[in-house]
Amino acid sequence: MLIIPNCFIEGISARTQVYPLKAANGRPENPYAEDADPVSGTQAYFAGADATGAAGAAKYGQMYTYDAARFDAAGKMLSPNNGPLGNLDRPVGGLGSITAGIVVRKMD
């Protein structure tokens, strides 16, 4: 008996801006990225925003981060998301459509 983990996405429940913990944000305790932005596919520590929108005290812990897919003005994909979202990081038929309950047309 095996669990196929997280193979079906129900939807997004929240989207929150976070900040990597680094000296520039007044939080130098990130052992992975030091003072640089975390590289796609690596782990980093993140903090939530304070009242001013800057890096706050709330820690989100250690998480992997990936570069989001990038699209031109016409919506054509320029670079993909190489993380777990994969081809679901797209404007139409992607994560937002799934959250809205729309049946997704799959793309291999």
């Binding site: 193979c7 079906f8 939807g11 929240a14 990936y66 990038r70 993380g83 990081d89």
Partner: protein, 302 residues
């Protein structure tokens, strides 16, 4: 002097096993005066008993899923252990490959055009078990295309006379024409807090929340940007990190017949209350034991 005597050829010893069994279910209390009207008594008793049975069945399903999610192995771990290419790697490298497999599993039923086939192929790579049954979360659009309905039969055991075993079928199973898997749907429990005309789905037994961080970019000069999936519009902040809380569900792949969970339902007795002779109490009991897999002797099997 040593005693000379034939050795004992047979030795019988009782094995004592201590287990914790959890009781579920409430007592059915009846007014014995209603026995003057046997039909009404039977109707009321059956009404109460059927409600108890449905509540116990729902609890049993919840316990079963909880045991599976807590104790069974996850595919991305098993696939790293099963691949000889990873055998000589150190723990960090194996963890990286496990992460890659986790990424591939994520949203597999929506990312790939043949999601069920992809899952089957990965499971075959990860284990030698002859998998034939797959439980997927409700909403998996793919199985609506499977034309062949299959009846999965459940056997309620624990009844002494095997001829009296209870079987009941499920019409929600379909057969995947490519892999031959019997695919069933796990529907989330419902709540009627908003009234019986507006049932709402609760969080399913196979669901959990996963957090992902993505770095979004915006190029004001060219109009290139990432996509904000929450608001369905272009990203507005360059080089910003966003944390997505995403509710996801898992699937379970198994061999039919594995995972016996429950016994002793119902263990029932009826008696009158000595101090209240006009009341009778029927103790409805359901107890559970831990999940066990029939394919091996382990408590959990991959």
């Amino acid at each position: 002097m040593p005693e000379s005597a034939p050795a004992r050829a047979v030795r019988t010893r009782e094995e004592e096993i201590s287990v914790h069994l959890q009781r579920y279910g409430a007592d059915l209390v009846m007014d014995t005066n209603l026995l003057m009207m046997p039909g009404a008594y039977a109707d009321e008793f059956n009404l109460k008993l059927e409600f108890q049975q449905r509540a116990m069945e729902a609890k049993l399903v919840e316990l079963g899923y909880r045991a599976i999610m807590a104790e069974c192995r996850e595919l991305h771990e098993a696939i790293v252990d099963a691949n000889p290419a990873f055998a000589s790697l150190d723990d960090n490298s194996r963890a990286q490959h496990g992460l890659a497999a986790w990424n591939q599993c994520f949203g597999a039923l929506q990312k790939y055009s043949n999601g069920v086939g992809v899952i089957m192929a990965m499971a075959k790579r990860a284990s030698t078990c002859p998998f034939d049954t797959l439980i997927v979360p409700a909403g998996t659009e793919e199985i609506s295309n499977f034309g062949v309905a299959s009846n999965a039969t459940y056997l309620v055991s624990g009844i002494r006379d095997s001829d009296k075993s209870i079987t009941f079928g499920s019409d929600s199973f379909r057969v995947d024409p490519i892999s031959g898997l019997r695919v069933g749907v796990s529907r989330p429990p419902q709540t009627f807090e908003a009234g019986t005309s507006a049932p709402r789905a609760r969080v399913g037994h196979l669901s959990r929340t996963v957090r992902l961080v993505v770095k979004e970019t915006v190029d004001a000069a060219t109009g290139d940007s990432s996509w904000n999936h929450m608001d369905n519009k272009k990203s507005e902040t360059n080089n910003a990190y966003f944390l997505y809380d995403i509710v996801v569900s898992s699937a379970v792949i198994a061999v039919a017949g594995s995972g016996h969970l429950c016994l002793g339902y119902p263990s029932t007795s009826t008696f009158s209350v000595p101090t209240s002779p006009e009341e009778s109490i029927t103790q409805v009991r359901s107890i559970r034991r831990p999940l066990r897999c029939q394919q091996c002797t382990n408590k959990v099997c991959s």
